[in-house]
Amino acid sequence: MIKNYFLRHAQVFFYTLGQLTRTPVATFLTVAVIGITLALPAGLYVAIENVQRLARGWEDNGQISLFLKQDVPGSSIEKLAEKIRRLPAVSWVDYVSRDAALAEFKRLSGFGEALNALDRNPLPALLVVHPAAAYSHPDKLQTLLKDLRRYNEVDLAQLDLDWVRRLHAMLELARQGVLILAAGLAVAVLLIVGNTIRLAVLNRRDEIEITKLIGGTNAFIRRPFLYAGTLQGLLGALLAWLLLALGLLLLSGPVDNLAGLYGSRFEAENLGFLATLTLIGSGGLLGWLGSRLAVGRHLRAIEPR
């Protein structure tokens, strides 16, 4: 009994597959539209994930840069560094002298020759203050920042975390945007599948009518259409994934170059395992739901006469 049940479902599955391959252009068009529609939010999601992953690397060095005034002598700097080092909110302090700053700038920027032409070092000395872990909360960092600004030697105090934080807020916003977009496009997929199935139902009007006449239940008549919708949804999701992979492949060169410029070995990643499952699952589910809604409505209209 159970075996027959599965056998029957397998038969419907292959029958449906056959039907889909018999109209390859129509099937391809539907799958392509679903694929592109799903690729849009999925692509944005991938972009956000990657930027966020990139930003996580910077988050750890939550640090305050103190740019000192040009005329502060080295000995006072040492003293200041020592003072700051003893603050309870501070874990350690790095001192980057003006010469060291210039050397590093030359190394990183590639402007070495040009800088040699300058008759004096334009860069300020820098104290990089690393806050203690217990003081990493934004409010406490803000207090520390205010305290550090009060030193006379300090020209400019800058909390490097600010923009990371802003970036995160923006990413969060973008994430919400993607959700809303995804919801809208999910409705679009429902409509696409619904319309395809509607046409399929109308095309097979006679077959449906005859099946009803010889005692086919609605569930029996629905089954191939549900399979068709689900299959097209799944194939669309698969196509979306391939489109993303292709996009990332095309972008990998430029991303490599860019990362190289920043001395990083960042590599853009495609959807993770769970996100891929979610994409494929959503495709299938939307396909099923779209065909279920369409077939339910149109089946009722086809009664034998």
Partner: protein, 223 residues
């Protein structure tokens, strides 16, 4: 098997297709329904197969009251009735074999039994050699016989036919009548709507006549 008491059928638009029809058909009977065009023969068959619902009256088929039969039970109700349609209603994108197999697939018959049962039905109507052909390549009489094979493949206790010899020559219609007589002799209840007098005379079975939506004569059960 079939019991109509004071059955009325009024189509939307107000046309009375059946008026106060009283009718009893026992299991195993063979009955012809005759009458001029528009008398309501097809309507009567449509009521019996739950394609249309009676407007008024008690219509009981196979123990089910057609007025109260829930929509979702209709498919199961129809599986007990084999119907031969005047316009065959075959699927033209499937082979003869697949057309005849459809009722078995619909009812979830054991897939291993299907080929044997389909071929048995095709054998009965003499079309075994054409199982792989498409209906479009068959003659009208052959298509009609495919329709008969499909109607009986499930071995339903009740067989209905609407103008089964509508547009085929007399030799062929004799053959088809013989088929129905054969089913009747095997205990199947057979109901045929036709205005083919030759057919009715040859069969010598019970005849019911409809005239302008009313049942005007009933020859009673044949001896």
């Amino acid at each position: 098997m079939i019991q109509f008491t004071h059955v009325f059928k009024r189509y939307p638009g107000g046309f009375d297709a059946l008026r106060n029809v009283n009718l009893q058909i026992q299991a195993g009977e063979m009955v012809f329904i005759t009458g001029h065009s528009g008398a309501g023969k097809s309507t009567l068959l449509k009521l019996i197969t739950a394609i249309e619902r009676p407007t008024r009256g008690d219509a009981v088929v196979n123990g089910k009251n057609l007025l109260r039969l829930p929509r979702r039970r209709i498919p199961y109700f129809r599986r007990e009735i084999g119907v031969v349609f005047q316009d065959h209603k075959l699927l033209f994108d499937r082979t003869v074999f697949d057309n005849v197999a459809l009722p078995l697939i619909v009812t979830g018959a054991d897939p291993h039994d299907i080929p044997r049962r389909v071929r048995a039905a095709l054998e009965m109507v003499g079309l075994l050699s054409k199982e792989k052909m498409y209906p479009i390549t068959l003659s009208g009489g052959e298509q009609q016989r495919v329709g008969i094979a499909r109607a009986v493949v499930n071995k339903p206790p009740l067989l209905l036919a609407d103008e089964p010899t509508g547009n085929i020559d007399s030799k062929l219609s004799d053959e088809i009548l013989d088929l129905f007589l054969d089913f009747h002799h095997h205990g199947v209840t057979v109901l045929i709507a036709t205005h083919d007098g030759h057919l009715i005379n040859r069969a010598r079975q019970r005849v019911i006549e409809l005239k302008q939506a009313e049942l005007v004569s009933d020859s009673g059960a044949a001896a």
